[in-house]
Symmetry: C2
Subunit: 335 residues, 2 copies
């Protein structure tokens, strides 16, 4: 199994109150680069602090890294519109950060990104690829893409209280700015991305399509952003088997996830790492509904599960990682 992680950025993340992928807006700009470094090296290198939410919830990259230390799968990092430098080795498929989804064309290079990622997907030759993402603000752009495609599903959030009606209003502004009706991009996935998405979505879509075209099994490792990527693959006309592996945190907060997966003919796996038994600050924020998913977390937890790695061992490793990187009990306060 090879985990492909796509990291990028969108100006959409700077809209107040839609993302918890960083302690503050400045820190958030470094989150995707830091996430790649954490998974690759076990620590940040060029990217500054280990990302935490405003209340101290550690990035899901820490969980993905912990599982990687137990399972030693390969990682290929892909860059599509990073704003900052990363020391992780990356394949660059897109240069520019995405613009605010309320602009008419936030991802003008959607097709170029897709085609480069598709070429890369064909070139990767393991039997199975999992694709994860790191892009603050990504659930809002995922919602934008779902609406442009005419898919009625909701998205999750890295915040405990999902500002879904706020996201819906942002998406409406975006559709207006793009002179698009809801559902007008049905069957035109690259138009949906170009007008409403972020640079990570066409990269995930291209990787999935390229892998499927060359006979590699594909699991989208993540929550509703990956569901949107799966919808893009289906609207592109690819009907090969496709899986989505996410966490119980996303599934609990997204009641229509299974219905959406069924409608898109995507096999759904939901893994519960039983963080409530972890009894540690590194995990308790997840139990309260923060972060939930990202950086391939749902996929690698499913991999641990099917590889018979006990979840207790995963939780222990998460605590080790957390304490090595963030100290004991750091930022454990908050509501």
């Amino acid at each position: 199994m090879t985990l492909v992680l796509v990291a990028g950025s969108t100006a959409t993340a700077a809209i107040d109150g839609i993302s918890a992928a960083g302690a503050d807006p400045e820190a958030m700009a470094h989150t995707p680069a830091a996430d790649l470094e954490l998974v690759e090296y076990g620590d940040t290198v060029f990217a500054g602090e280990v990302p935490v939410s405003p209340t101290g919830c550690p990035t899901p990259a820490l969980i993905t890294r912990a599982v990687r230390e137990l399972l030693e799968f390969d990682v290929v990092a892909v860059e599509s519109g990073l704003m900052t430098r990363t020391a992780a080795p990356t394949v660059v498929v897109g240069e520019a950060p995405g613009d605010d989804l309320r602009e008419p064309e936030p991802v003008p290079d959607a097709e170029g990104i897709f085609e480069r990622a598709r070429t890369l997907g064909r070139e990767l030759s393991p039997a199975e690829v999992m694709v994860g993402e790191s892009i603050p603000g990504g659930t809002t752009t995922a919602l934008g893409v779902l609406r442009a495609l005419g898919e009625p599903y909701a998205v999750s959030s890295s915040l405990p209280e999902n500002p879904l009606s706020r996201k819906e209003r942002l998406v409406e502004s975006g559709l207006d700015a793009s002179a698009l009706d809801s559902g007008e991009a049905d069957g035109s996935p690259l138009a949906a991305v170009e007008h409403m998405g972020d640079p990570v979505l066409p990269a995930v879509m291209g990787l999935a399509v390229g892998c499927l075209e060359s006979g590699t099994r594909v699991t989208l490792a993540g929550g509703t952003q990956m569901l949107a990527a799966g919808a893009l693959v289906r609207h592109f006309g690819v009907d090969a088997p496709l899986s989505l592996a996410t966490t119980v945190f996303v599934a609990r907060a997204t009641p229509d996830l299974r219905r959406a997966a069924d409608a898109l003919d995507i096999e759904l796996t939901v893994t519960d790492p039983r963080f409530d038994e972890g009894n540690h600050v590194a995990m308790e924020r997840y139990c309260r509904g923060e972060a939930k998913e990202g950086v391939g977390m749902g996929g690698v937890l499913a991999l641990a599960d099917r590889s018979d790695i006990p979840m207790g061992a995963v939780r222990e490793r998460i605590v080790d990682r957390y304490e090595a990187l963030l100290g004991t009990g750091v930022r454990s306060g908050g509501p």
Copy 2:
């Protein structure tokens, strides 16, 4: 063992008659990106044709890839001033291609490149690292750096007839443009690179210094460009053990190589892959003095040798790779 390959470019390569790292100047611009892809994937992906010299000599990347298929070592690709896109995962330590060495400051960011590469070198944690390069025109900038440092040694060439006096004249022009006397950068390696080098040299130097600082053994895998990188490390004041592993093709063409290595306290390994016994166009041009070295070739041949991989198996794999990529006997003519 991890092979770290540093790829970049310099406008110096566009000077007529100093490099054979491509069939023509336009193709040469793609050579470093293609070399990384060949080693990573066994074929080019974004980078167009497999690089060959004007007479059809295949890039040393093909040899490095062949050895990798037999030995399966890890590869980390580092970008420092590539002109074109590569599908190989890379860590970017330098953004801009180098300027012509006859300009006053061809590598203005030498120190930034060095420090980022040094940080990366500290982060890499295998017991042993080999560092190779791919930069057309690199022996000319290596000569420039050696002269700026006051080191009297000659450099090799990818051409069968080394245009050494032409290179010496170019270096003289470069020293004049930089208002530097020969030897004036003695003990100031980053000044030597800034005024006379290319973006790959400070990256190799930084990687070597960073690895040595964290206790990783370092072998510079290459010929006289790597000798220049070794000189930079010594002029930086690092006196830890350092090795240079190159091919018999470089050693034959560079009579003072051993003396230079001794003077710089660099342990020298010269490997003879006995390409004359290969009896194939993929190797015969090397026997006639073309290409000679590059993309870590000398290092990985030394690794094959000490791993008891028979050179006959290496040669067979080179023929397989050549025929898969370039067909049988393609471009076998020429003088």
